[in-house]
Assembly symmetry: C2
Homo-oligomer: 341 residues x 2
């Protein structure tokens, strides 16, 4: 904490005035002689004074700090969200206490504990892959700490949330596959308990239904992880007697791995097998062929979540609300062109 930092007391002593006057002057309150104020400010900068936010927080019962927990910052989608959060937070003079659950429930619990102990004014959380129980979040609410969930949200808790229209995004993707001639469309899903994966599956089914295609259970394969393991899943698909001619993937990393495997097996993308991802990682535009994907406005999601939270902290809109941002199907090289009609 840097020993021997300057305090308002030091300033008061030097100027032979009371600490309350210094405090008032520092905060630019009215009712303080312009002369005095000037002297205080000068002395402060001369002594290299920096206000002690810790002391202030204790006194005013507010830390001007928000806590955030993401599963994994190394994933671009999340770092982009973090960046958006940080942007909004710094605009309104809030600090960001950063934690990472590593997709681990116990770690999420620990993170939450220290964040609460640090008396953050509010929490921004994207649930870990393992998290199923909401008890820890309910406890947060019981302590009256504002909470906003984003991306990895849950229906089992009533709080503000930010997500994208997963179902609609998936629907657009699968519909496009059908429209470009695919008939046996697979879904490379995430873990079975992951809400976003399931919602995207809903969109997948809906598109098939609308297009009059009978779903085939064999064409749905789950990956245990969002980053690895997609290779095996793809292998399974390609081992089918009736192979897929299109693959919709739960996210871009999975799609990228699927692409590799599909190519290794000698299939042409998109002619033999079309592929669509979800997220639009920066990578996706650079691979070859470039990945068609459902783009999520990640930075925007971060900003939106942060705004929601800060509004809540400042006491506006008490009711919790869910903001659903739109996705956009970005057409690239892993899908065929639409036929002219």
């Amino acid at each position: 904490m840097g020993k021997g930092q300057v305090t308002i007391r030091d300033i008061a002593l030097k100027l032979n005035i009371s600490i309350s006057t210094v405090s008032r002057a520092m905060r630019g309150m009215a009712d303080v002689n312009p002369e005095t104020k000037k002297k205080v400010l000068e002395m402060a900068s001369q002594l290299n004074y920096e206000p002690n936010l810790i002391a202030q927080s204790l006194r005013i019962n507010r830390t001007n700090t928000i806590g955030i927990i993401v599963p994994d910052v190394e994933v671009h989608f999340f770092s982009s969200i973090v960046s958006g959060i940080q942007e909004v937070a710094s605009e309104v003079n809030y600090n960001v206490l950063f934690c990472q659950s590593n997709e681990n429930y116990q770690t999420e619990l620990n993170n939450l504990k220290t964040l609460i102990a640090s008396r953050v004014d509010g929490l921004l959380i994207s649930l870990s892959r393992e998290t199923e129980d909401m008890e820890h979040l309910l406890r947060v609410q019981r302590k009256n700490i504002p909470l906003v969930l984003f991306d990895r949200i849950s229906d089992d808790i009533d709080t503000s949330k930010v997500n994208v229209s997963d179902m609609d995004g998936a629907f657009k993707a699968v519909k496009y596959l059908v429209d470009t001639g695919c008939r046996r469309i697979a879904y490379l899903a995430g873990p079975k308990n992951l809400a976003i994966s399931n919602k995207r599956m809903d969109g997948y089914f809906k598109a098939l239904r609308v297009c009059g295609i009978t779903p085939d259970e064999n064409l749905i394969v789950h990956c245990n992880s969002l980053r690895d393991d997609a290779g095996n899943a793809t292998d399974k698909l390609l081992a089918l007697k009736e192979k897929p001619d299109g693959i919709f993937c739960v996210n871009d990393p999975v799609a990228l791995q699927a692409m590799q495997v599909v190519k290794q097996h000698g299939f042409k993308i998109p002619e033999d097998i079309s592929i669509i991802g979800f997220t639009d990682d920066p990578v996706s535009a650079l691979v070859e062929p470039a990945l068609t994907t459902v783009a999520q406005p990640s930075h925007e999601m971060g900003k939106c979540a942060a705004k929601l939270l800060i509004d809540q902290i400042k006491g506006y809109n008490g009711a919790s609300r869910t903001v659903t941002l739109d996705t956009k199907l970005v057409l690239r090289g892993t899908t065929r062109a639409l036929r002219e009609t």
Copy 2:
């Protein structure tokens, strides 16, 4: 801050003992009756007590929090470092206050100000691209706040630092280009004042010298940004009457853009023009051809920087020291194979 949180006073009242006893029990100090301790702990969990770290920090003059400033978390290299930092910090029960300078000097200054005001126990900083003056960091040192710089470091300040052997990495890369037959090797550099870019240039020159190749000023082109602008720079190179047959790039994003432009111009990679990047972003293994690059142990850098800082905070090794981690040349498809001898 969540009104009405439980305090040790509440526990003391309920148990009809003094708050000091509660405090002692909570911290598991000796000299406290096992019975009493048990009662305190039970009551604490029953009341859902969470220690107030703010109050504790004020009292013990230590926040158990480290501040970190990176130029841009959306860059994988930095998010990976942040992840490493967070990992080490949480192991030793430190919190991480996260800031982003957006490559902007003024923002870096503001970040520093709030971090100091928040009384972080130490600082982990990677300088913004614009930062040339070290006065703000010297001020940090005058306040006795431990400071460790990483990646974007400066020679103008005496403090602990973590970096990679930029010069050696560049040397290995350029030497490899020569060894595989390149003779007109270009350097796609970063901004002129960026230390890492210049150190990599030193390695570039050294390799040419060792290999007996005369440097050509025209083959060195600077990009203003580390993310955009590399396209134009590459255009310049390809407009030369004597075109390069190899391009060493200051980092992977630049290399990726260079690849695109080179391909657009109809050149074959690596046959006509070989390319090597620096960093080894996850993307680089996925593009086609996959990018040969100088890998930096980013996660390791974060862990190393955090350890250095925490050691310093805890009062070990007062002397500042620089840890230089090794890079590794990862051979992929944008370079030719070595000829058998």
